[in-house]
Symmetry: C2
Subunit: 76 residues, 2 copies
DNA sequence: TGGGATTTGTTCGTATGTATC
DNA sequence: TGATACATACGAACAAATCCC
């Protein structure tokens, strides 16, 4: 799965959508890779990866903690 | 009115709050200064000013248009 | 008609501060 | 203490849309 750098859809939105799908399908559980690792994996800047996770955080899909990491939120 | 660079509250949040207040009090009408000008006025980076306006945009307080500018949204 | 200037919005790379382990 | 990680902030560059002359 790759991101389309030529798409009019912003990379950070594409990545957020991609990660949301993986979470909802249960492919991504517990700990989410660090922004630094996501940046390398998807070939975006760390700030872009962070922005993607910020979207999921606002949606309540993940929980972030400074110095700890990002985690898939428990289902309610 | 100035921003506190030493506050734990992020600059982009401080600026968003400040501008929101000015809009709600009717001090800011119609056209909003360009991000570049806000950046100079409040001594922040252009990206930080942009981020502040993004918050107000999501809140529906302002409307932004590429190549035109930012405008206070009509009251409903 | 066309070209230059302006403005928004995205992205990058980097640096820094704070918190956790 | 040192390594790791999140979050903020900066400066710079670029594309697209718009405006102006």
């Amino acid at each position: 799965m790759e991101l389309d750098h030529d798409s009019p859809v912003p990379l950070y939105v594409q990545l957020a959508n991609l990660l949301r799908g993986r979470i909802e399908r249960g492919e991504l559980k517990g700990r989410i890779p660090a922004t630094k690792d996501l940046a390398v994996q998807y070939e975006v800047a760390q700030g872009t990866a962070e922005r993607s996770l910020a979207i999921l955080r606002e949606e309540g899909l993940i929980i972030s903690a400074v110095g700890r990491g990002h985690f898939v939120a428990k289902r309610d």
